[in-house]
């Protein structure tokens, strides 16, 4: 059996741990730039606030709601405490996302785990237990808030799946749902009743795995360590949209430095680099380049990204508001392909080491590339100190 622990409105619950007076009042957590609500309490949800609602709409929907600035460091600290408690009841635990984990059930005591997390972390969670990961996740989702649901028999499984939209299953959304709907498959019970060959034809082997999982036949294992990355991407909104080349280039370098942090954490190098830009009022563009050998060096990646920038940014008058730097074709650091044209010297490695050591002690980005000088306002603004994708070790985004 597999268990799924899912925190109830995690960011809000985490805020209520340190500000207990927020309990019972409508709360919205505001995202990285102060404009969008990225999490809401059940009270705020009842007032019509949704995830992604801009704050100015939230204010109209629920004038009494309290807004809190996101603090991903705090959420990560509580997330890791929750994970430790799950590890106390199971030898195999998957750190799925910041507020969710899967575990192999040794003793079925979901209420005990739920009570322990509430008492020792302060966060209410819902727990689902079922023969497969997909069913366990559906169980906890259907028992929210602060519920427990266990599915052991076929009858209980059928009862769980009856009438649930197929889009509730993690991995089925958008185009997949449209393809299924064309065959009159809109609910989970219709999905499992369909022929698995049809599902494979429509959704490939990935969809077929879900078909087996929903039938109670486990095919997705609990991953106790994160599978090797296919790629590592860093980026997102750049705040105010801009067409200033120096500012855009500085954001590219900032994201390269974030990519390098992640490459170092996972001890990998990359063979390719992709830069993608989204523009206001024009289609987004992305271009990839191959690197001279496998590298995780800030200088190499920065040069590559800045070489890509004018090639992606056409016409240069377009206003940039979103970007991603993506490291592709990753290899373990110990197995990297060296280049005949390698420029990295012992001195460069020492500089990287010193930079990392200083930043570990003084703070992230305390020492950074001078190319990011046009972003002094961003670095000086304490609101920009942390970004969610930089939480390492999760198996899901």
């Amino acid at each position: 059996m597999i268990g799924h622990v899912d925190a109830d409105c995690f960011y809000v619950s985490a805020e209520r741990v340190r500000f207990p007076h927020l309990t019972g009042v409508p709360v919205g957590v505001i995202g990285n730039h102060g404009a969008c609500i990225i999490a809401k309490s059940y009270e705020a949800k009842a007032a019509g606030i949704k995830t992604g609602t801009p704050i100015w709409e939230g204010v109209t929907l629920c004038p009494d709601a309290v807004y809190v600035k996101r603090d991903f460091r705090w959420y990560e600290a509580l997330s890791r405490k929750m994970l430790e408690l799950v590890k106390e009841v199971s030898p195999r635990v998957e750190f799925y996302s910041i507020d969710e984990s899967f575990y192999e059930v040794e003793v079925i005591d979901p209420h005990g785990l739920q009570a322990a997390i509430l008492e020792r972390v302060g966060v209410p969670v819902s727990v689902g237990i079922a023969p497969t990961k997909t069913l366990a996740k559906l169980c906890s989702d259907s028992s929210k808030p602060f519920g427990v649901r266990i599915v052991t028999s076929d009858d209980e499984r059928r009862e769980l799946l009856a009438g649930i939209p197929v889009t509730e299953v993690c991995g089925i959304a958008g185009k997949a749902a449209i393809k299924l709907a064309a065959h009159r498959i809109t609910t989970c019970d219709e999905f499992v009743a369909a022929d698995n060959r049809l599902i494979r034809k429509l959704l490939t082997v990935v969809g077929e795995r879900l078909w087996y999982e929903l039938r109670g036949e486990p095919v997705l294992p609990v991953l106790i360590s994160r599978a090797a990355h296919q790629r590592i991407a860093r980026g997102g909104s750049i705040g105010r949209a801009t067409r200033d080349p120096a500012r855009v280039a500085a954001f590219v370098v900032r994201n390269v430095e974030r990519v390098v942090e992640a490459l170092f954490y996972y001890q990998v190098t990359c063979d390719q680099l992709t830069l993608s830009l989204d523009f206001r009022g024009a289609p987004g563009r992305a271009i990839r380049c191959s690197l001279l050998g496998s590298t995780a060096d800030t200088g190499d990646l920065r040069d590559a990204a800045l070489w890509l920038l004018p090639r992606v940014w056409r016409p240069a008058s377009a206003t940039v508001h979103y970007m991603h730097v993506i490291a592709d074709r990753l290899r373990p650091l110990t197995d990297r392909q060296r280049s005949l044209f390698e420029r990295r010297t012992v001195k460069d490695e020492r500089i990287e080491f010193v930079k990392r050591s200083i930043n570990d002690v003084v703070g992230r980005f305390a020492l950074r590339s001078a190319s990011t000088l046009p972003l002094t306002d961003v670095y000086d603004d304490p609101a920009n100190s942390y970004d969610i994708p930089d939480i390492h070790g999760k198996t899901c985004f």
């Binding site: 009042v25 730039h33 102060g34």
Partner: protein, 159 residues
């Protein structure tokens, strides 16, 4: 800026509520009206007030001062931190204080406050105390949230 603050009812003593007739300021923020009361203090009131910790005691003072210019009455309730540092307020002998608050309010947005807001107290000719909220240029984040270019100086907190 910060056009209002709220403090939890539990932090106010009954004598303080009676003495300053704060009963009308109490609001229940919970949607189910489960009794999570707080006292709200807004600058837009006719005679605005603020809770202040002054000389170690929680008291209620008038928020800012009213002036008359060209037959128009206006009220000043804020003090720029840069101006205070430049000693522009020295002749008024300002005393630094903390305005204890759990929530701040600006342009319809209520935001959580950890400890309180920094302010100054100055006395008028009759030695009556008036409290002014200290402000500083907004962070990008606060500006996005409230569309204001100045934000209150908070105790050990940056929004």
């Amino acid at each position: 800026m910060c056009s209002g603050v709220a403090i939890l009812r539990d932090k106010l003593t009954d004598p303080l509520i009676l003495r300053h007739e704060l009963g009308w300021r109490l609001h229940d923020r919970s949607l189910d009206h489960s009794g999570r009361f707080e006292a709200r203090f807004m600058f837009a009131e006719r005679r605005p007030q603020l809770p202040v910790v002054h000389d170690g005691q929680l008291v209620i003072y008038e928020w800012g001062m009213a002036f008359e210019k060209n037959r128009k009455c206006f009220r000043v309730g804020y003090c720029k931190e840069e101006g205070l540092r430049a000693d522009n307020w020295r002749y008024l002998k300002p005393e630094p204080v903390v305005i204890p608050a759990d929530y701040g309010f600006e342009r319809g947005v209520w935001f959580a406050i950890v400890e309180g807001v920094r302010g100054i107290v100055v006395r008028d000719e009759q030695e009556r105390p008036h409290v002014f909220v200290l402000t500083q240029p907004s962070t990008h984040y606060y500006q996005m949230m409230t569309k204001r270019d100045r934000e209150p100086v908070l105790v050990e907190q940056v929004i």
